[in-house]
């Protein structure tokens, strides 16, 4: 995590709804919502 207030998108975790920022949506998430196999990678690029 770089910022802790939602700006850097560095702390994301994969959920059924896509990546969520743990600093904003967490730190506690519903276990059932977590996605063991991250989704959305097909749409993800490699641009920093």
């Amino acid at each position: 995590m770089a910022c802790g207030f939602g700006a850097c998108f560095g702390c994301v975790v994969p959920t059924r709804a896509g990546y969520v920022r743990l600093c904003l949506e967490g730190p506690v998430l519903e276990a059932n919502d977590l996605d063991a196999v991250p989704t959305g990678h097909a749409a993800a690029g490699v641009t920093p």
Partner: protein, 296 residues
């Protein structure tokens, strides 16, 4: 002391670098009133918008380097439609002009975004992120003067709003790209974007970042930014927005001395969310003194 920039009258020369200050998240963290009544930046640059929504790159996305950060976020955003429906109505209430950063993987995509935001009265200016490949030609757009010129030839006629080209430092001749942008009608250039970098996960011997490589920012790149801003400012007559590792008023003053009209604070806002206001205030104290009295 107000600053003129592309027809905008800004209260001071400090803005944010795209993607380093999420005003909507900051409203939630600090409160709308508190944020708006003491907004740190003279204009707000929003995170890159693409035509389609993007989830961004797989984690890990961040690596702490010596005096810097290697990020590989991958431009997560809601896409044009989501931005217009959900983000713009909130960002246009900020007390400063709004500059929307856009990126497309083809010239048609950039044209679509420029047209969409040209139609929005609350958008003061557009910043074009050219740190990506043109999927049709395979060229990193911002590394090639001809690609940048062709892109501007396509989109310049679509809007009278100021167009700022965000230059990549990962180019052989950055001033040549800046000159091409000016010749093709850009109103300003901004630099530097992150320097391409990599880290290795010691437990696997493979790339640390989920996407393989990332972009280096923070104080580690400050000297590179200063040199590139000086070179570009000497090469063009349009305004230059300087950024790269700014963490104090002196860093901002240095970029202004190198020829920048505005200075953006980026990675420092991750470490200190109040950095924008601090840099602004430190700069105001420093700039009361004439240049010949500056102490190194």
């Amino acid at each position: 002391v107000s600053v003129a920039f592309c027809g905008l009258e800004l209260a001071h020369p400090i803005i944010n670098a795209s993607g380093t200050f999420d005003a909507i998240a900051a409203e939630r963290t600090f409160g709308v009133e508190a944020l708006h009544s003491a907004f740190p930046f003279a204009a707000y640059v929003s995170k890159t918008v693409t035509v389609a929504p993007r989830q961004g790159n797989p984690p890990p996305r961040l690596y702490e380097a010596p005096a810097g950060l290697i990020n590989s976020i991958g431009l997560p955003n809601k896409g044009r439609a989501g931005y217009l429906a959900e983000d713009l109505p909130r960002l246009e209430r900020l007390p400063v002009p709004l500059i929307v950063n856009v990126m497309g993987f083809t010239r048609d995509e950039v044209a679509e975004l420029v047209s969409a935001f040209d139609a929005q009265a609350s958008v003061a200016a557009l910043e074009l992120n050219v740190s990506c490949p043109n999927v049709e030609t395979g060229m990193l757009i911002g590394a090639d003067p001809a690609e940048v010129a062709a892109l501007l030839d396509r989109v310049r006629p679509l809007t009278a709003k100021p167009l700022v080209i965000k230059l990549t430092p990962n180019a052989g001749d950055v001033p040549a790209v800046a000159r091409a942008a000016q010749a093709a009608g850009a109103d300003a250039v901004s630099l530097i974007n992150t320097l391409r970098g990599m880290a290795i996960d010691p437990s696997t011997g493979r790339a640390w970042h989920g996407a393989g490589t990332g972009g280096l920012s923070g104080p580690a790149v400050r000297a590179v930014a200063l040199a590139q801003v000086a070179d570009v400012a000497a090469a063009v007559s349009i305004p230059v927005v300087g950024m790269g590792g700014v963490s104090s008023g002196r860093d901002a003053r240095d970029l202004l001395a190198a020829g920048a009209t505005l200075v953006a604070v980026g990675t420092e806002s991750f470490r200190d969310p109040a950095a924008g206001a601090r840099v602004r205030d430190e700069l105001a104290t420093l700039t009361r003194a004439p240049a010949e009295t500056w102490v190194a």
